[in-house]
Point group: C2
Chain length 223, copies 2
């Protein structure tokens, strides 16, 4: 029943994932409701223990898939949280990741490890388990600062998107409105977009051109 023995104490290691999306014009985060103690029935970031033969990033992707059915997100290591008392069970060190995905690709479904999976707007969060509020706070900071010198925002829109949609993403993350002309000038000057040829349709207004990334899936650093 306790076959894994070592000459000196070993901590447990987990990954936790802060998956952001934009839902109803707000930043939202994916949470699961815990099925077992500690913090039973409490909401928490998806995540779990690192398997002996998997890398940390693989662990994060696997846990996200197992617990929420979600795959194909942008994922990046955030910070490692290791306060000795952060978990009441034993010493657990957590390598936190943050992830980004457009909301409407995803159809979260509770996996085996979680009773419920749900998006929560960041301004209407429930109480969170462990030090997950700290993780979330740091993740949001990182998202905000990285917006300015990289192309992470593109991970929050669909494969094809309008410049209006993209601008909305920037505005929501920065928490302030942006000038339309300056925004378009800036984005197009990056030379990272290609017109998809198609346009919006079925909207109450002039249809917008649809763009796609010239090199999909590539994160660019600016300046």
């Amino acid at each position: 029943m306790a076959p894994f023995c070592y000459d000196y104490p070993h901590p447990a290691v987990t990954t936790d994932i802060a998956l952001f999306t934009i839902l109803e014009d707000k930043l939202a985060i994916l949470l699961i409701r815990r099925r077992s103690p500690p913090f039973q029935h409490c909401w928490a970031l998806p995540g779990g223990f690192v398997e002996p033969d998997e890398g940390l990033e693989n662990c994060a992707l696997r846990e996200l898939a197992e617990e929420t059915g979600i795959t194909g997100v942008y994922l990046e290591q955030l910070y490692t949280f290791g306060q000795p008392d952060r978990d009441p069970r034993e010493r657990i060190i957590s390598v936190a990741y943050y992830a980004l995905a457009p909301a409407d690709i995803l159809a979260p479904v509770a996996g085996s490890d979680a009773a419920e999976v749900c998006w929560f707007a960041l301004d209407a969060l429930p109480d969170l388990a462990f030090d997950h509020p700290d993780i979330l706070c740091l993740a949001q900071q990182r998202l905000r600062t990285k917006l300015d010198y990289s192309t992470i925002a593109f991970s929050l829109v669909n494969e094809t998107f309008t410049l209006g949609e993209l601008q909305k993403v920037y505005e929501i993350i920065r928490g302030e409105p942006l000038d339309k002309r300056n925004f378009r000038k800036y984005i197009l000057s990056l030379n990272l977009l290609a017109e998809s040829g198609a346009s919006q349709h079925g909207c109450n207004h002039r249809p917008a051109k649809l763009y796609r990334l010239a090199q999909p899936g590539t994160l660019h650093y600016l300046r």
Copy 2:
């Protein structure tokens, strides 16, 4: 002999520290020579196993002090390296930190865990143990980028310093010369320095004013 047992496998967790300084007008890093296998007699970053009741940052500071006698550095978490095969002994996950300190405060002396401790210029590195080259490379990248939006460079000069010395630090990290007048204008416009009143002496030229940080020990983010 193996009293620490768990219901499922636990990795070991270490911290490794990339301590930079400026030595003889070059970026240099502190290395220790390993006394035991694996990579016996090889040079490596200082670091070691996380104790059950210490935080990660404390572990890094403790290992640095034990192995090199050095304290009082600027320290910041860098990245967590967890490839399953990065250590031949067992699964070891390493939380890497990078640190900065002025060279002439330090008088590194081998502690109990290391046979030798030595500064190495980055352009004259020996072979390094484990994935320490990766850690070092990432640390150097971080140092370079963070130079532009924070006051980390101040951690590489003494408590009082001349603007010439500070400029040298920027030039060495960026790998290019800077304009003296523009540099001084920029630094002074930050309003973070106070004149110490004193000046250099014993130099072959006009003595420079000595400055100190108005709030020593505080890291500022710019823009």
